[in-house]
Symmetry: C2
DNA sequence: CACTTTTTTAGAATCATTATAAACTAGTTA
DNA sequence: TAACTAGTTTATAATGATTCTAAAAAAGTG
């Protein structure tokens, strides 16, 4: 399976559960947004096997730490993740409560003029809220 | 007291609790960021009286709805609010877990080129994460 | 004052997330 | 293969922010 090496190279053992989760998350053309609960449902449907909720949490956090997933900064009762880890931004449709990708090229250059002593910029994320 | 009219005009009865919370939130030169728990502590210290946690939640949400407070989109276990309701952005210091204001003029114009059918842009918020 | 509506309150309930600790698995070495 | 170690999974319990509830208190009105 093609994710075995990827996991090993990250210092993560390629367990059955992790490989299944890789398959659901990354074995697709399109990137997507998800919450932990949505992911759990998707796993159940696609693999016909149940992975413990704790494992889903552990794995998603491990993948995030390794840079294979990104958390989306948004205030919601559940945390949203993104399989698109390139630099990009988001629309948030307040009515539908849905996220839509916003490519860097759709926003134009953002130039942060203020500097904070001794700190480096790690990321710049734009959230555009949409209403009717 | 100077907040009585403000509250009445918003359709909120000027109760003792709301006036005290107004005093803590708005009777100051500087705007600031807070979580509900931080606000509760601040109220206790500044007013020497205890307001029920439920009331603090209710009031903060009521004020947010009226536009007197803004929620800051950030993934944290607690929700952050801002008494600065002008258009502006934030640094988030990942190590210190602290928010720092970033004025519009420090970011430059942001031009969202992509349009979503039938939706209007309500707000554009930039979160700049800082590391060492 | 009498009445209605809104607000406050303590405590319970909810729900996402994290912790626990026992069972299991992968990788390694003999 | 067996034995060993470190890492992983799991069900379940614990945590903690937030919301709900329903009764008491306060505000507004005539």
């Amino acid at each position: 399976m093609k994710y075995i090496e990827k996991l090993r190279n990250s210092g993560l053992r390629p367990t059955k559960q992790r490989l299944q989760i890789c398959d659901v998350l990354f074995n697709t053309d399109k990137t997507f947004h998800f919450t932990i609960n949505e992911l759990e449902q998707k796993i159940k449907k696609q693999t016909n096997s149940k992975i413990s909720l704790a494992t889903v949490y552990n794995t998603v956090h491990a993948f995030e730490k390794k840079g294979y997933l990104k958390q989306i900064p948004i205030n919601s009762s559940e945390t949203y993740f993104d399989t698109n880890v390139t630099d990009h931004h988001h629309f948030y449709d307040l009515k539908e409560e849905k996220l839509i990708d916003l490519e860097n090229s759709d926003v134009g250059p953002i130039n942060i003029l203020k500097k904070i002593n001794g700190k480096k910029i790690k990321s710049v994320e734009v959230l555009v809220k949409l209403e009717e």
